[in-house]
Symmetry: C2
């Protein structure tokens, strides 16, 4: 099976909303009048972003999920995506599973594949997603204001705890292992919440490199500081049962959470709760934006946690 | 140097036409009213699409050039692009050259970098390009009509000849080596010609996998056949001086030509010549679209060349 048969068999469907899909030199997109197009690209490399032990179906899901998470953080409605896939050989078992996971999430999110590229090489997946957002309404990192509540969706740290278990640094029981591994391999992008937060949140980012690192991007871009209350950070029973140091690694530096971190005026708490209900996404208030630059994390006893040992995930350092 | 410093240093500029560029979860694009967005993605893998001996500057040029060539084939005006880059380590010499080549071509083509991703991994480059084309005016593979002239820009086969020299299958003199290597490593995308061909050409494709293979895509999509005259295929003196079999490999199956192959009514010959002049791009008429399906290549003596041994480039077979 060659490149073109492969695309025809696994990666071609007639587009519903885009004027032209897979099969020409370019696809054609047409945002509706008054809409801007939000664009994001992520690249996943075997051994770096996923382990060779991952099920192909989960990998197909995750490759699209991490990109959808970026659209969610901007409040953009998913529209279309392209897929560039490099793999050592044409492995039908792998492609069957990978395409299955990809299409399942694509259908769920209402996003369509419009183009791409396949080639032989090390297993690498690069997806570019497109979403629509009304002009001027995109949620940005730069909008946080002093006094804003800081919110996070879902819960933090499960994916990192699974990684620590894979690395043999912690032992988890069967249920904990299943649940945290699922969080690592099958993140659920928060697209519906992102759309509901338009006009409600002042700023947003997706937590992909860890809470502290990603919050610092918001603080830097917005020219503000923040206080976080460690006790308030949402976590699973499995994370909560770990030693305090490991909990902090998982909650503060995590990585692969793909939750939304956003800020909104305290006056908007009812609207935030309504956005959470409508999108069926739990949200938790974890702190406050401050005028003074810097980031403080308060532990339960009123002391600040030293953040020197907690760095954001860096793909060239990890 | 980490991921974020790297992006800041080499891959961040303020966008001029896009509402939001590098640095948030998404970039924002806003096509002008009445315009569709043409989108294309290509992935380049070391050892497969380029040799480890390539100068970083030329690699930066080529990675963008092959994508711009897809916009050219659709008649789209370059607007913006994203870059996903995986590389084994942060190598400042490499990044300096790569970014230099990339920006030089980006400035020449009037396209701006709006986002991307960098990660550690095998050297792999995935670029997604965006161009504007008035709704309904994109050049497609599916528009060829019986009686159409078949045209090709520039000349064919130089890049393939350089590859054959790299593989030790042919020896080239100094000048031939320099010129063909330049064709392989520094292809010039035909964006200006593509834009001029709107409303003139019936169909277009870029020749990236070889003349025969790419022409067959046009024939299949358009439900037509074609006759090509081998003598008319434009070639350099260096290609013309090779043995006939090697010339045919270079001209017919080539690969990496990045010229435009397009069809237009014979009545439009003056308009095609004007498009070529305005875009300062040589074009050559090489054959005719036929009602009967199939592809025939006539040699100089009125016999048809057997095409069985000439297959399109396939990344999983080569």
């Amino acid at each position: 099976m060659g490149e073109f048969d492969l695309i025809e068999r696994w990666f071609t469907r007639t587009p519903r909303r885009s004027p032209l899909g897979v099969g020409d030199d370019c696809a054609l997109l047409q945002p509706r009048p008054g809409q801007q197009l939000a664009v994001s690209t992520d690249m996943l490399v075997e051994g770096r972003h996923f382990l060779s032990t991952v099920q192909p179906r989960r990998l197909g899901h995750k490759a699209l999920a991490v990109n959808l998470s970026d659209l969610a953080a901007c409040g953009a409605q998913p529209l279309a995506f392209t897929l560039a896939l490099s793999m050592p050989r044409v492995d039908e078992h792998f492609l069957e599973g990978f395409a299955g996971g990809l299409w399942a999430l694509a259908d769920q999110a209402g996003i369509e594949l419009v183009g791409g590229d396949t080639t032989a090489g090390p297993l690498t997946i690069s997806i570019t997603v497109f979403g629509e957002v009304p002009a001027g309404q995109a949620l940005l990192r730069s909008g946080a204001r002093p006094g804003d509540d800081i919110w996070v969706s879902g819960r933090l740290g499960d994916a990192r705890l699974a990684l620590e278990a894979f690395r043999g640094r912690v032992a988890l029981d069967g249920e904990g292992w299943t649940q945290t591994r699922r969080a690592m391999e099958c993140p659920q992008p928060r697209c519906a919440l992102g759309v509901e937060l338009r006009g409600v949140a002042h700023s947003a980012i997706d937590v992909s490199d860890g809470l502290i690192g990603d919050l610092r991007h918001v603080l830097q871009r917005s020219g503000v500081g923040a206080v976080i209350e460690e006790q308030l950070l949402p976590r699973s029973a499995c994370v909560a049962s770990q030693a305090l140091d490991l909990q902090r690694v998982c909650l503060l530096t995590g990585g692969d959470d793909y939750e939304l971190l956003f800020t909104a005026s305290p006056q908007k708490r009812p609207q935030v709760m309504r956005a959470a209900e409508r999108s069926e996404t739990p949200v938790t208030r974890i702190g406050t934006i401050q005028v003074e630059p810097g980031l403080l994390v308060w532990d339960g006893s009123g002391c600040s946690v030293s953040l020197n040992s907690f760095q954001a995930f860096d793909h060239f350092a990890a």
